[in-house]
């Protein structure tokens, strides 16, 4: 269903890429021009993506806004884009966060690295957006790689002191993941052809291909490892704190979308392609999610730096998301997607606030902070709301997702739900301790400068508005996910129904 024949998804995916080209020709010293241009591109992109809401039909099954063209016909590779409710939520979140990231980076971009910063940010946006709407495995892989490269480069050129180590580590992890995924893709493709089918990398066709159970597990693992590294699922998480602590804080608002692509990969690819393997391994993966929640939670508690706490808390939040994805019921999965949106909003806001603190103090270490909320009450107030959103305070956005995940987990595995609830307590411990260390206490003498500027307030207000809106009236988000969530789980439920159907047949046979 195109918007009157306009290839809207293509426009959305490639607008940032096209917008990045003129930046090549801007003078390096003319940072104001570069920044203004980037801001305009990201704003145009966000507005353009909003048009998807108009054309979206929440009740329709299957992908919408479909664009399909042969790319390499001999191999069955297509240029195939489409979006369901889950993709739509992720696309809007990405374009929104990019726009926020650009405003949030306004001061930090004013360096000789401005060109790289702006260019890689826009390239990253294209890569992330493409990953969320690609429905052909090769196309997805291409976007996946196109997303990682600007991410390395952004950190490697514009990052902090240990940026080389961080980017290198990130690269190693993801290179392994990408290779495995490539093997997985080719494996599925080969199986599909072996069964006498015409060659294709079409996700829906391949998902309908019956794959023998033993092969499924291996192919699933190949995909799952790539996604698990990206999410990251414990114990594959150690790249994340390093990367986050070296990434420029404004850009980090968008970089957090990388982990959502990992979670999205499970939902869109790994589970529909290999439902039986997913069901078999679900208890283990969900358990690893739980380990991540608690492990990252206690780790966050002992960190000595604001950014590091949020980095570890991201791992914990993603643990909840993984838990929700692998319970295979409506509420858990819907909660997981809601929580993906929430994580973008609340972690994004917290990173922005970290950036605002950094801009004033040149440090986010607790050793250098204290009394921030007393010195800068407006900054403290926004920090408070963002922190509470991350805690999952009922009435704000985090609670909606968290409750649905816990309830969905409770339906499937009650013991897991109890542990997850423990994770909620741990989150309160480390987030409030973080707030206490940075924001409360006596004002440290080194704090100087004014409270938030109008620009900074304008950056945070949309995020806070979303926290309250999703917390009190999540219906628009939830409604747009209803059908899509059922469709994802539909792949699994046919599997889960099968054994009992088998038993019934046996009984009838007797």
């Amino acid at each position: 269903m195109n918007l009157s024949g306009i290839p809207i998804l293509t426009l959305i995916v490639f607008l940032p890429l096209v917008g990045a080209i003129p930046i090549l020709f801007f003078r390096r010293t003319d940072t104001l021009l570069i920044r203004t241009w980037t801001l305009l591109v990201s704003l145009a992109e966000f507005v353009l993506s909003l048009s998807l809401i108009l054309g979206f039909d929440p009740g329709a099954t299957g992908p919408q806004f479909v664009e399909r063209a042969p790319w390499v016909p001999t191999l069955g590779i297509q240029y195939y884009l489409g979006a369901d409710g889950i993709s739509l939520a992720m696309v809007l979140l990405t374009t929104f966060l990019t726009f926020i990231a650009v405003i949030g980076s306004w001061g930090a971009m004013d360096t000789e690295r401005c060109k790289e910063y702006a260019g890689f940010l826009l390239l990253l946006e294209t890569g992330v957006l493409g990953s969320f709407v690609a429905l052909d495995l090769v196309l997805f892989f291409a976007f996946w790689e196109a997303m990682l490269v600007p991410a390395y480069l952004l950190v490697g050129t514009c990052g902090g002191r240990r940026r080389i180590y961080a980017a290198y580590k990130f690269f190693l992890y993801t290179a392994v993941g990408s290779l495995l995924m490539l093997v997985g893709i080719l494996g599925v493709y080969a199986i599909h052809i072996q069964q006498g089918n015409p060659p294709t990398f079409d996700l829906q066709t391949l998902a309908a291909t019956p794959i023998p159970a033993n092969l499924q597990v291996w192919a699933f693992l190949a995909f799952a490892l790539a996604f698990a590294i990206k999410v990251p699922i414990w114990p594959l998480h150690t790249w994340l704190p390093d990367l986050y602590s070296e990434t420029p804080l404004g850009a980090l608002v968008l970089v957090t979308m990388l982990v959502k692509v990992g979670a999205y990969g499970f939902i869109r690819f790994a589970i529909p392609l290999f439902p039986e393997a997913a069901v078999t391994l679900a208890p283990i993966i969900a358990a690893l999610g739980l380990v991540g929640i608690l492990y990252a939670g206690v780790s966050a508690f002992v960190q000595r730096d604001f950014v590091m706490v949020i980095a570890y808390s991201s791992i914990a939040h993603l643990g909840f998301i993984v838990l929700g994805i692998f319970e295979f019921n409506h509420q858990a999965l819907e909660g997981a997607v809601v929580q993906m949106v929430n994580h973008g909003i609340s972690a994004g806001a917290l990173f922005l606030i970290a950036g605002m603190i950094y801009a004033r103090t040149k440090s986010t270490s607790f050793d250098a902070l204290g009394g921030v909320a007393a010195k800068w009450p407006v900054l403290g107030g926004f920090g408070l709301v963002a922190m509470l959103s991350s805690v999952g305070l009922p009435g704000l956005n985090g609670f909606v997702g968290e409750f649905l995940i816990v309830y969905g987990t409770f339906i499937a595995r009650q013991g897991y739900a109890v542990v997850a609830a423990l994770g909620i307590i741990v989150a309160a411990v480390y987030l409030l301790t973080m707030f206490q260390r940075a924001m409360h206490g006596p004002i440290v003498p080194t704090l100087s400068g004014p409270d938030l500027s109008l620009r900074e307030v304008a950056t945070l207000i949309p995020l806070v508005a979303l926290m309250v809106a999703i917390g009190l009236y999540p219906a628009p988000l939830l409604n747009s996910l209803e059908t899509s969530v059922d469709q994802v789980n539909g792949h699994v439920q046919t599997v889960e129904a099968a054994p009992s159907a088998h038993v019934a047949l046996v009984r009838e046979g007797r």
Partner: protein
């Protein structure tokens, strides 16, 4: 008239938003607007009561829904409220007492630079509590539940530049988060069992769905109990409340009297159709209540800080309320909740007047002889002390007497519970009169400099004292004639098939006993702390170890910080310091090293720059795709 209940929520919301936007700009005006909105909410609550009274007793239940809040698949939770006698009593107490405290705070906080912020939090606090008591389902309850937890955090840590205030705030929030987790799990189990979270559906079908004493209902009620224990500061989760004294005194009054801590008692009363199906949980509640009441009362005997004594007295009185609902006396528990709201608010506000006069001094060892200088504080504190001690004729007498009687005589009660309740009543009289005598009588131990500049309370602080003083004296008479309060409240329980245990008239033996015990307690306090204060010192010496144990809360608090905080920190260091840094990163770095080793021969790749590698993988990917595109398969 019943529809005015929306106004009860709307007014504090307006006050909150106003203070949020303009509190910094016009602090003084915002304080008055904040107070006014709570006053208007009280008026609206009164009109709800009038509307409810016009209905037949069996028909006094109304539900209002705004919209579907969380709808996901088969789960649908509305933003809905429930008006019945129980929620009406609660909104009256909450708005009424909060209004008085707000007015008082306009005087008490007069010189504070955070004046606007203070009233912003205060109004949000009242709003959250109103959402808590008005919700018609367990999930919206959680919004109010966590909201009051949040506001207590914000207000306890109000002077957050003081490290101990900031720490006390975190402690309150974290302990409450334990309760929130219990509530989330309870809600999940309820939703799974009943396919619904709204009270009416769950409570009306409880008897058919759940077996008495069965595993499910016991699990649900135990999880709810975790939440109630955390919020109402009962053993073993009471530790946050005494530290909460770090906040401004009006906050303590609000937390202890009108909002927050009573929520646990309310929850048990509200969910009585579930609790009555779980005899084990009910017994546990009664015992937790009785033991907490006694435990906290003994600690109250030794604490030197006046606000801390009051804090432990709250823990102890909440224990009474738990005991009441635990033995099935749901109406009796709510009755004591209301009486307690009056006299505890008054105790804090009167103590606040003293602290205000003494420029922030809270240590009773530096008070004494203030009765002449602060007459309003003196007389109102006395009235509240008589009320909390259960002196005949005062509000606490009626409400506490009913609980002691029920502890002895109700089907779920027994002699042991009754005796604990009786002993605690005596101890209450002792520690409260100790505080009274130490503060107002004897020789002045006030710092001379402070004594010269005694701040006398203004009208904004005196008027609330008088109003609460009157209520503390006469509040108990709502039961007359013929148990009026109980008979108003009872339909809220009978509607769902629960018959609260009630005391038909005063039991002469038990009443007589409790009067004797209370008088004895007053006499003991008089003998030790009034007649000859040296007795106190020598007693303290001869009971040295006991006194030390009491001063340290029997070591409970220290145990927590050692075990819980130590465990989390230790685990955290192991995880991020050891496993991440050495084991996991060791593997990664090892792989990295071997990659480097392999690439020694390949000079171009050895540059070590990520850029090179990144370009390499991009090229690699393109080559692979191009290769496939050429039909290489």
């Amino acid at each position: 008239m019943v529809n005015n209940v929306w106004l009860v929520l709307l007014f504090p919301l307006i006050g909150f938003v106003w203070c949020l936007l303009f509190g910094r700009l016009w602090p003084r005006l915002s304080g008055w607007i904040a107070s006014l909105t709570i006053g208007l909410a009280f008026v609206a609550a009164v009109s709800v009561l009038i509307g409810l009274l016009a209905l037949e007793p069996g028909d006094r239940i109304r539900i209002g829904t705004l919209y579907t809040w969380i709808g996901s698949g088969s789960v649908s939770v509305p933003l809905g409220i429930l008006v019945d006698p129980l929620s009406t009593v609660m909104i009256l107490v909450v708005t009424g007492v909060s209004f008085v405290i707000h007015v008082y705070a306009t005087g008490y906080m007069h010189d504070d630079p955070g004046y606007g912020r203070f009233f912003c939090y205060m109004n949000l606090f009242v709003l959250s509590m109103l959402v808590l008591v008005l919700s018609d389902n367990f999930l919206l309850l959680m919004v109010g539940w966590a909201g009051v937890g949040l506001c207590s955090y914000l207000l306890i840590a109000f002077w957050f530049e003081k490290p101990e205030a900031a720490a006390a705030g975190v402690k309150a929030f974290v302990v409450n988060a334990i309760g929130d987790a219990g509530l989330i799990l309870a809600s999940s189990l309820i939703l799974l069992t009943f396919k619904s979270l709204d009270y009416v559906t769950v409570f009306t079908s409880a008897k058919e769905t759940l077996a008495v004493g069965g595993g499910t209902v016991t699990a649900i009620t135990l999880l709810l109990l975790v939440a109630a224990v955390a919020k109402s500061a009962q053993l073993p989760l009471y530790v946050w409340l005494p530290d909460a004294m770090a906040g401004p005194t009006p906050v303590s009054a609000l937390i202890h009297a009108a909002t927050m801590v009573t929520a646990g008692v309310y929850l048990i009363a509200r969910a009585s159709p579930l609790f009555t199906l779980a005899p084990f949980t009910m017994g546990l509640i009664a015992w937790i209540g009785a033991i907490t009441a006694l435990f906290a009362a003994t600690i109250g005997l030794v604490k030197p800080n006046i606000k801390r004594v009051l804090a432990y007295s709250t823990v102890s009185q909440l224990g009474y309320m738990f005991l009441a609902v635990g033995v099935g006396g749901f109406a009796a528990g709510i009755f004591h909740l209301m009486a307690h709201a009056f006299f505890k608010a008054l105790l804090f506000l009167a103590a606040g007047a003293v602290i205000h006069a003494l420029a922030g001094e809270e240590d009773m060892r530096k008070m004494g002889g203030l009765w002449k200088k602060l007459p309003f504080a003196y007389w109102t504190f006395l009235a509240a002390t008589l009320a909390i001690s259960g002196f005949p004729g005062f509000s606490g007498f009626f409400s506490k007497d009913e609980i002691i009687s029920l502890a002895f005589t109700s089907d779920r009660g027994n002699v042991a519970l009754g005796i604990i309740a009786l002993v605690t009543a005596g101890l209450t009289a002792v520690y409260m009169f100790r505080a009274f005598f130490m503060t107002f009588h004897g020789e002045s131990r006030v710092d001379e400099h402070v004594a010269e500049h005694l701040h006398r309370p203004g009208l904004a602080m005196v008027a609330p004292l008088v109003v609460l003083g009157v209520l503390s004296v006469i509040g108990g008479y709502v039961q007359f004639p013929g148990g009026g309060f109980t008979s108003f409240l009872t339909p809220a329980f009978t509607y769902f098939g629960v018959t609260p245990a009630t005391e038909s008239g005063l039991n002469p033996t038990i009443s007589g006993l409790s009067v004797v015990v209370v008088l004895l307690g007053i006499v003991i306090a008089w003998a030790i702390w009034y007649r000859n204060p040296k007795t106190a010192t020598s007693l303290g010496k001869s009971f040295g170890p006991v006194r030390a144990a009491l001063l340290n809360d029997y070591g409970v608090d220290a145990l927590y910080s050692l075990v819980v905080v130590g465990a989390v920190r230790g685990l955290g260091n192991v995880c991020s310091g050891l496993v991440d840094a050495l084991v996991l990163d060791g593997i990664v770095d090892g792989v990295a090293e071997s990659v480097r080793g392999i690439s020694v021969g390949v000079a171009r790749l050895e540059s070590g720059y990520v850029r090179t590698y990144a370009v390499a993988i991009l090229t690699g990917a393109i080559v692979i795709i191009a290769f496939m595109a050429r039909g290489g398969v």
